[in-house]
Subunit: 334 residues, 2 copies
Amino acid sequence: MKLATMKNGSRDGSLYVVDRHMNRAVSAAAIARTMQEALDEWDVAEPRLKQLYNDLNEGHVSNTIPFDTTRCMAPLPRAYQWVDGSAYVNHVELVRKARGVEMPPSFWTDPLMYQGLSDSFIGPTDDIELADESWGIDFEAEVTVVTGDVPMGVTPADARQHIKLIMLVNDVSLRYMAKEELQKGFGFVNCKPTCAFSPVAVTPDELGDAWDGGKVHLPLITHRGDTLFGKPNAGVDMVFDFPTLIAHAAKTRRLTAGSVVGSGTVSNKDTSVGSSCIVEQQTLEKLSTGEVKTPFLKFGERVHIEMLDKEGKSIFGAINQKLVKYEYAKKKAA
Amino acid sequence: MKLATMKNGSRDGSLYVVDRHMNRAVSAAAIARTMQEALDEWDVAEPRLKQLYNDLNEGHVSNTIPFDTTRCMAPLPRAYQWVDGSAYVNHVELVRKARGVEMPPSFWTDPLMYQGLSDSFIGPTDDIELADESWGIDFEAEVTVVTGDVPMGVTPADARQHIKLIMLVNDVSLRYMAKEELQKGFGFVNCKPTCAFSPVAVTPDELGDAWDGGKVHLPLITHRGDTLFGKPNAGVDMVFDFPTLIAHAAKTRRLTAGSVVGSGTVSNKDTSVGSSCIVEQQTLEKLSTGEVKTPFLKFGERVHIEMLDKEGKSIFGAINQKLVKYEYAKKKAA
């Protein structure tokens, strides 16, 4: 099943069911007005949404609209939680190596994870608005899951059943600020602006055998402008699968329905597949030639993130964003 | 104006207006069903809620109920954002000193702040449920504000107008886990379980001249069991006021209505007033005698946090919680 949240002028948008090929969509308002409402009562809403999805795919639904990703908000336009792991430990080790810092061996067994802002996620084609190019503006292509209610202390085995939806994210990062915030030890506030999510969130069954209950076994494809930047496989070199990340997040607290849990930047040891963020590319350059060639994003540049199934069809729709300059004075005057 | 959220079996509870003396309360459902709903449309809701508050104080409202803090949820039972500063830098310096670590001088000018979990806040008299006493369980008494919509890049001067409500919080902390997470640099996930908030959230005008637009100038009183633990003045030694903390949080992103911004553990240089958390008390012991005497919390212990006005009357009602043992196996079976 594919679900999207369409802009309607409100903070939470309107929940829509989208057909398998992402051509048509139909309002799910009779079942749940918003994605959060559906997640709050998932056991009741899910079978009804699925029925609507099946009817839509079979052409038995009237009142459909063309599915236009420029009208999409993030599937959860504001969420109660966003925690992002660093499941591709290879990536972390690489970046540390380039900085001349040894990575503690515990990072292979104890997930790195940060609590991120979740109060305003942006849509897949919304501009990335930032005030200053010199912050070291980077993208990060990742896979995320959305949970139902997860009890505190859940085991990884038990956590599987709590995965309700899967999405892609562009976790925008400000690298020069990240350096400072890492030293403070309190995690990321300034260096993590709002994230953009894929047009649709899908139920795990939508992935077929590309979903094994813990990982998505497909390449995550990132373009910078018109150029392919990377296509690492999200199922390869993922040291902590999603149930393990959920269990880590829930060690000392419950997670409320609608919590978004991220994989961290998807990264493979096979460097020929490219990278899912600029800083990794820079690291590889530095390690091989001693010199960084690839610059961070400039205003006007675009980032495109997508995942295709084995037939080459888009699963989540594309994140396709432009970086633009933000000015507080203009915002205030508006 | 005083507002509370009463338990009604739902995730977000029911919004109530509470009279000045916290004796009676009346449903605000005709204005806004939940606190978040009120904050989403604050400009419309606030004058109507204030009218109801005035009528309630003058005895002109029927359908009131006795105000029972054991029936309170957190004013925002789940919020879209919780960022907590460390505005009492003296406290940070003390704790570092005891660890033998020098504090970077930038901590006096650049606020420490972490993004905390906000998906499930607990009520003022709800038990603190945790699985393991050996995690170093501590309380932290703090003041917090709730914002309206704050644009990215807001200045401290402009941030003042975005402060809508003030609350107290018990920011429970697991100190041995915090040590490990600080070293990882990614901030706090496991060491920060869910927070409890005061029974009522108040509008700034409710504080009279104890609120100067940026700080609350009153002692924050913490008891451990029946013993006074500390009563530092929240207006003293607060290096970063709330508008400054809000501006810091909003440097690279907007804050959505209902964002909760915390002061960090309230702490005065005058050590005779005691502390707002155990680890500070331990630090003072270590620095003066070389030995830590005060233990972390044990199951069955109680914490009581309150703030009184100049007439000795409670402003927010009391946070009054017991620490109890949590077992996942029991939770799962239930």
